[in-house]
């Protein structure tokens, strides 16, 4: 993954908390900055895609690393 401006550890949290925390973190960021989210909720794989398509943010990467799911989001 490329360099990120911020990282959010959402491991151990379940739906809808990873999305809510992601939204909150993005709120405090500047447009164009990137956020890396690490989650363990398997539902976040699809939810993060839906979240980004609904909010206009860009999901740059989405990958599984062991039991973690990692997402890279660029703020719109």
């Amino acid at each position: 993954m490329e360099a990120t401006n911020q990282t959010l550890d959402a491991r151990g949290l379940n739906c809808p908390l990873p999305i809510l925390r992601t939204k909150k973190t993005l709120n405090a960021m500047q447009s164009g900055e990137t956020l890396k989210v690490v989650a363990t909720d398997p539902g976040s794989l699809k939810d993060m895609v839906a979240f980004c398509s609904q909010t206009g943010n860009t999901l740059l990467e989405s990958q599984q690393a062991g039991s973690d799911f990692e997402f890279l989001i660029r703020k719109a």
Binding site: C15, L20, K24, Q54, T55
Partner: protein, 208 residues
């Protein structure tokens, strides 16, 4: 089209085709473009009517509304009848296996084989004193162990994200509640008419 416009056609007008078929095609395209533009600029909205006051039924409204708010939607929840319990300052929600046959009864602790085993509860056993408290305590432990938020947390997240929580005035009168028992963040105390007027414009309206 007024006379001034006819005398001084704008650039837009000058691009208008003159034969009928082309004019219709031009109009259809413009309509589609305008509708797409409106759709893109519109904020979707969610209106939920929450009528249940048990711990299990408290989750759907708060999860859906907080998620909608995270998506940038306008979200509101109208709490009526037992749903008002979800707005109490002191949340003391319970869950009962009684009359709730789909509720899985699984141990929140112990070895994996035990945690995965479903133990159906005979209806008669579920009527025993203390059974409801035990079931509630087990569900709270399960919720915590699985990283699911508590109702109190979800309610705070809803408020933080700007979800509008409105309460039913009639229910307060009906059950002789004291308004001081409820959280001060309640946006309004209204009746069916006011909420229906609001829900009419919602894209999604749910009754929980």
């Amino acid at each position: 089209m007024n006379v001034t416009k006819l005398l001084h056609p704008t650039e837009q007008d000058s691009k208008m085709p003159t034969d009928l078929a082309a004019l219709e095609a031009w109009f259809d395209k413009r309509l589609d473009d305008k509708l797409a533009e409106r759709e893109a600029n519109r904020t979707p909205s969610l209106a939920i009517i929450a009528t249940k006051g048990t711990m299990d039924m408290a989750y759907p409204p708060f999860i859906l509304a907080s998620t909608a708010a995270a998506l940038g939607w306008d979200a509101s929840i109208f709490f009526t009848f037992y749903g008002l319990e979800l707005l109490k300052k002191d949340l003391n929600l319970k869950v009962s296996p009684l009359g709730n046959p789909a509720m899985p009864m699984k141990m929140p602790f112990g070895p994996d084989w035990l945690k995965h085993m479903n133990m159906p509860v005979p209806t008669l056993a579920a009527t025993l004193p203390g059974f409801q408290s035990m079931a509630t305590s087990m569900m709270k432990q399960t919720v915590k162990a699985k990283g699911v938020a508590s109702i109190g947390e979800l309610r705070d997240l809803c408020l933080e994200a700007g979800v509008k929580l409105v309460a039913c005035q009639m229910t307060v009168d009906l059950f002789s509640y004291d308004k001081d028992e409820f959280i001060p963040e309640i946006a309004d105390w209204i009746g069916a008419t006011s909420y229906l007027a609001e829900a009419k414009n919602a894209d999604i309206c749910l009754f929980v």
